[in-house]
Amino acid sequence: MSEPLEVPLRDSGPLRIAVRTAAIMLVFTLVFTALMAGTYRATAPLVAASTKAEKLALIGEVLPFALYDNALLDDWIEVVADKELGVTDATRLYRARLKGQPAALVIEAAAADGYSGRIGLLLAVKASGELLAVRVSEHRETPGLGDYINPKKDRNKSQPWITQFSNLGFDSVPRERWRVKKDGGHFDQRAGATISARAVTNASGRALAWATQRRDKLFNLPAHSRFEESKP
């Protein structure tokens, strides 16, 4: 605290001090925003490449290679933002076929109601209507508490939580029981972190319903085309 009153007014009046301070703040803001923007631009291609590699690895986890023989990564259609799936951007949906017959769909979905925001999911849905498997592609759940939705962080290595959805369809678990046990449904949750489990369970149920209802349309669209829900 220097003594501001003793400084002659004509050299540094209150207005002048205010303008000078604001200018300094502006310069700091510009410099550090530029630093962030520059880093973002420099790292964006690398980040995008590793995100893509991760997605491919994840597809391998939900969809066994034995179930299809087509060029999966080239047989995609684009799904525009869809409320049921929870996706806000256009995403790619991959179609797996075996000997020309529809085998499975690989879908991206998301739950907006995770404990710390959005949980991204990747699901493989068999043409017969069963969910092959679900994996969490991105999340911000509390480490050590809600992050068991990622099987790599799950303490139960032999039977990770997320594998309980595997090979289930609405034939074996009715649509209205596709919830966590705490909500009167079929699926387990871990004590202390129900919100994460509930978000993943509900979102996977919604995505499974979405895919089974539109199955034929999704498989029959020409590759690389756009799927958009016709407005009612």
Partner: protein, 229 residues
């Protein structure tokens, strides 16, 4: 030289961020559910504290006193963002494990507290050392925290270490049918452990002071105990 020693001692014990200043509880309580997560967060925090202390000590002559706090926050947030992006781009495997902790560091008031209390008033070398020492104090306490909560909560130690060192694996300390003790994993358990650790530290300090007093000749006025309250 002894000035540097004092900075180190302050960070690790005397002014320990958690046990004495009781700062940074938000990430502490949330993440210290097991040893590996706790130490991971701690190490990421050391990097941020080191860099933010360095940056602000270097720029301190340019920052007007009246707007220092917004400028500090701006610099810290920018540094954390840059570290997050750089980690993601260049150390992607490690990012998959540690990445989730980096944005949490912004919520840690230790970083701002050290910048304001130390780096804004001291030179580059001392500020860097202060960042490392305060960070080291954070790491050992949060690591101990994680170990205690993991052991009581799930009966294991070092679970999840295979994500960092694929050849290692966690150790089951209690029998495999140990049912776990959920409250240790939840925030209330964290507060219990925090209370116990602070009590232990105060007891150790009080005992050290008592010994010091006993060693001095009787009748001499003793220095006030420096037990934190």
């Amino acid at each position: 030289m002894s000035a540097y020693k004092e900075i180190a001692w302050n960070g690790i014990w005397k002014q320990n961020t958690i046990l004495v200043q009781v700062l940074g509880l938000c990430p502490l309580l949330a993440v210290s559910t097991n040893f590996v997560n706790a130490v991971s967060l701690g190490l990421a925090t050391v990097v941020v504290m080191l860099l933010s202390n360095l940056a602000i000590s270097a720029l301190r002559a340019l920052i007007p006193y009246e707007i220092r706090i917004p400028v500090f926050i701006l610099i810290i947030a920018a540094l954390v963002t840059v570290i997050d992006l750089a980690f993601n781009a260049f150390l992607h495997d490690l990012y998959l494990v540690l990445g989730i902790f980096i944005p949490l560091i912004v919520t840690n008031c230790i970083v701002l507290a050290r910048v304001e209390a130390f780096a804004a008033k001291n030179g580059l070398r001392a500020s860097t050392l202060d960042g490392i020492a305060m960070g080291a104090g954070f790491v050992w306490v949060i690591g101990l925290f994680g170990a205690v909560r993991e052991l009581i909560g799930q009966g294991t130690l070092f679970s999840g270490i295979e994500m960092i060192f694929p050849t290692l694996s966690g150790i089951q300390i209690f029998p495999a049918d140990y049912p776990g003790f959920l409250i240790a994993m939840l925030p209330p358990g964290a507060f219990f452990v925090l209370g116990l650790l602070i009590a232990c530290r105060n007891w150790l300090d009080a005992r050290a002071n008592q010994r010091l007093r006993d060693r001095r000749s009787h009748g001499q006025p003793s220095a006030a105990t420096s037990v934190a309250t």
